[in-house]
Point group: C2
Chain length 120, copies 2
């Protein structure tokens, strides 16, 4: 799921604490199991961060000068509820406009190929 957040609160999306807390809480609300959290503050403005989850990841990049943030929610399986994460982020980051695109990955997986056994 690709989420575009426009007309965000610039103070919110330029705050490492706000962005990180919002992403972690969004992951929890989406029922994700958090594995690792990595966030960075860029100079002069902007935050990038990734929440690695057992079901895959949530990533964010913010451009406070454009009041814009791009969020990716990558998940596998039916357990995760990405829409809940999206709604929460729209609210927390004060986005006046948002667009969501959902994309299926691995769509060619069931095309002919040679299956293999992997030791696990």
């Amino acid at each position: 799921m690709l989420l575009e957040l426009y007309d965000c609160e610039p103070e919110a999306i330029n705050s490492l604490d706000v962005v990180k807390a919002s992403m972690v809480e969004a992951a929890k609300r989406a029922q994700a199991t958090i594995v690792d959290v990595v966030f960075h503050e860029f100079s002069p403005v902007g935050i990038s961060g990734v929440v690695v989850i057992a079901e895959s990841h949530l990533a964010i990049h913010t451009w406070p000068e454009h009041r814009y943030a791009a969020v990716d929610v990558f998940s596998c399986g039916d357990i995760l509820q990405p829409q809940i994460a999206a709604d929460y982020l729209v609210e927390q980051l004060g986005a006046a406009r948002a667009s969501v695109v959902e994309l299926q990955r691995g769509v060619l997986l069931h095309a002919p190929h040679t299956p293999v056994a992997v030791d696990g």
Copy 2:
């Protein structure tokens, strides 16, 4: 850029070392400035990882049991060369089939909104 890698070498995409080294080298070849590297091995199989770069991020999730890996290369600006990263990963992970989709983000950024000043 969303990259789908099919019919990969299962040993390669189940190796934390191979996946991590391939992603880091792909980022370097794409002229990215690496900020942080986070990789995890899942049980029984599968690797997830993110290379956070100044220009945004590269993420990978692998399913060795399906010989499939999903890679996202998120970049801003014209400096990064994601196609070079993609070609390198196809080669290193032994993907017999691959598909690439490029998506523009923030396409509504130039729609009317109120610009703001942000202290940096």
